[in-house]
């Protein structure tokens, strides 16, 4: 609880609730985001990620909850929150009829940066986001990746300390996605705090200092990527054999392994280290049991995500945690 009194929290929410009619979208969310970190809100479609961002960025109001962003109470002082934050929504909020440069200058004007400073800042952002060549073309002619970069550039005109990114890489090709990740890392290196939502586990794993998993309006887990991975059962190695007799022999030898007669495979718990794999193979060699194929599985966030949100085969994965 000492965290809540620390001034170093960029975003905090306590008991955040929101419902539309009788549909509860957010059912009591608590989260803390430390300054100068990347926080990822991970969840499937419809989990309430966008609603959370919209509430924290003052776009819509919460039904209940204590919310502070940048040291300001979201309900009582939304203007101060707006001044401290930048938001890039899921759908790029650019003016299609204006050029890239005009879009940036429009935002600079609305932030009252002054004419020369606004132009300087626009040129700087165009350069940084690799849009200088397209600066005088209207945004309507931009590709998806360019629009997203322009959108983010517009968000950054006022140098916000806290930046909300709602699915920043949704629909981007792999290269644009990598560019976006690089930009996000640079922003944090420059002192910003990033609150992003994503449904890509890889993205949360690669970028975020802390990850919260949101499912059907509730947080089902919260921690670092490693902490979350520890929530699901550890890794395993899988051995495939040529025939049933080899499988049976191996199963007798390796106690505690799970046997699949159909697939002729044996699965046994392992941390995936070279020593442990070598030890297993040595025991099989000693008995002259041939292994057709070996694979090593370390738990990734996919396991965590599926285990916690039970999106696909929920039953299986619930057993996994238990």
């Amino acid at each position: 609880m000492t965290q809540q009194t620390t001034p170093a929290l960029a975003v905090s929410a306590n008991g955040l609730r929101k419902s539309y009619g009788d549909k509860t979208v957010l059912d009591g969310i608590d989260l803390d985001v430390a300054e100068r970190t990347i926080f990822a809100l991970l969840g499937p479609n419809g989990a309430g990620k966008t609603t959370t961002v919209q509430i924290l960025s003052t776009l819509i109001t919460a039904d209940a909850g204590q919310l502070r962003v940048g040291g300001h109470d979201v309900a009582r002082d939304p203007e101060a929150v707006r001044a401290a934050t930048g938001v890039a929504g899921q759908y790029s909020a650019v003016d299609d009829l204006l050029t890239g440069e005009e879009n940036l200058i429009l935002i600079a004007d609305l932030l009252h940066l002054g004419r020369s400073e606004g132009r300087r800042r626009a040129a700087e952002l165009l350069e940084r986001f690799d849009l200088s060549e397209a600066a005088t073309k209207t945004a309507a002619t931009y590709s998806g990746g360019m629009r997203r970069r322009l959108d983010l550039a517009m968000t950054l005109v006022g140098r916000p300390r806290i930046i909300f990114l709602d699915e920043p890489t949704a629909g981007l090709d792999p290269r644009s996605r990598r560019t976006m990740w690089q930009i996000v890392r640079e922003l944090v290196a420059d002192g910003a705090t990033i609150f992003l939502t994503t449904q890509y586990l890889e993205e949360a794993d690669r970028l975020a200092d802390r990850i919260a998993v949101l499912d059907r309006g509730k947080l089902v887990a919260d921690g670092t990527a490693d902490e979350l991975k520890r929530l699901v059962s550890g890794g395993h190695i899988r051995l495939r054999f040529a025939d049933a007799s080899a499988l049976a022999a191996a199963a007798r030898l390796l106690a505690g392994s799970a046997r699949d007669d159909e697939a002729l495979t044996l699965q046994l718990p392992s941390d995936g280290s070279v020593q442990s794999v070598r030890a297993v193979l040595a025991r099989l060699d000693a008995q002259a049991i041939d292994v057709e194929e070996l694979s090593i599985h370390t738990p990734d966030l996919d396991d965590v995500f599926l285990a916690l949100t039970g999106t696909h085969d929920g039953e299986n994965h619930k057993e996994l945690i238990a």
């Binding site: 919209q54 960025s57 003052t58 776009l59 819509i60 203007e79 101060a80 707006r82 001044a83 934050t85 930048g86 938001v87 929504g89 759908y91 790029s92 909020a93 650019v94 003016d95 299609d96 009829l97 204006l98 005009e102 429009l106 935002i107 004007d109 609305l110 932030l111 009252h112 209207t138 517009m154 968000t155 006022g158």
Partner: protein, 263 residues
């Protein structure tokens, strides 16, 4: 800077944005300008002699049909500016950009103020052009400076009222298509007023409607100011209509705009 000064700066920024849109994509504005000009040419050049003769018979002025119809066409120009405004507001509200504006520390009203100012500037320029075309076709106003000023005042008031109405339509519309349909009704309302033929030449039911809809008193007031025909109580009724529409539309638009939530 004070909050008021910020609101004015932000409105000016939004106005620049809207004017830039209009200059870059002038088709809607030009369509709003061309329609009254085409109707003017049609009614004066093609139908003018017949309608003028009928007017004469019905006890209208014999100064030529162009003089009779020009005031109504001028009003039509003001009304046709609505379409572009409603569409522009709707495109803004249904696009992503509105959410950016809403999450920035800017004067919220400035978006609408920018639209209203931008539209009024375009409408008044169009109105000037249409008056010019009418004059070329023989429109000969007898108004002195004071009457011109009064007519201009009423036209500005009408433009203000209709622009806010268009903003309201744009805010309520779910798509640009529906935003462009509703203003057509306003655009065609002048046809069922004293703009083209005197109301006493109309069948009873239509006549009742024509007498009691806003474009008749506004047309009669402009006609009276520019051509010296009797104005009577029309001026007060015209002003009341404009103020009424402006107030209802302004407060309606404000309420819808503040209520509108991100979807």
């Amino acid at each position: 800077m004070s909050a008021m000064a910020y609101a004015m700066t932000d409105s000016a920024t939004m106005l620049r944005r809207n004017l830039r849109h209009a200059l870059r994509y002038p088709s809607l504005t030009l369509a709003g300008l061309m329609m009254p000009i085409v109707i003017l040419l049609l009614f004066v050049g093609v139908l003018g002699d017949t309608l003028g003769a009928g007017l004469h018979g019905a006890g209208g002025s014999d100064a030529g049909y162009v003089n009779y119809v020009a005031p109504g066409i001028i009003l039509m120009t003001v009304a046709s500016g609505c379409l572009a405004t409603a569409v522009a507001v709707c495109v803004d509200m249904t696009g992503g950009i509105i959410n950016r504006f809403r999450t920035m520390a800017i004067s919220r009203a400035s978006l609408l103020t920018g639209h209203v100012l931008g539209s009024m500037i375009q409408t008044l320029i169009s109105t000037g052009v249409v008056i010019g075309v009418a004059v070329l076709l023989g429109f000969a106003p007898t108004a002195g400076p004071l009457e011109w000023l009064a007519a201009a005042g009423l036209l500005v008031l009408l433009a203000f009222a209709l622009t806010w109405l268009a903003v309201l339509i744009g805010l309520v519309a779910k798509s640009a298509e529906s935003a462009s349909n509703t203003p057509l009704l306003i655009q065609f309302l002048p046809f069922v007023s004293s703009a083209f033929v005197p109301v006493d030449s109309m069948p009873a039911g239509v006549r009742w409607f024509a007498e009691n809809q806003p474009f008749t008193p506004i047309t009669e007031t402009i006609r009276g100011l520019l051509l010296g025909t009797p104005v009577g109580s029309h001026a007060a009724i015209a002003a009341a209509w404009c103020v009424g529409v402006a107030l209802i539309s302004y407060f309606g638009a404000r309420a819808v705009f503040n209520r509108a939530r991100a979807s």
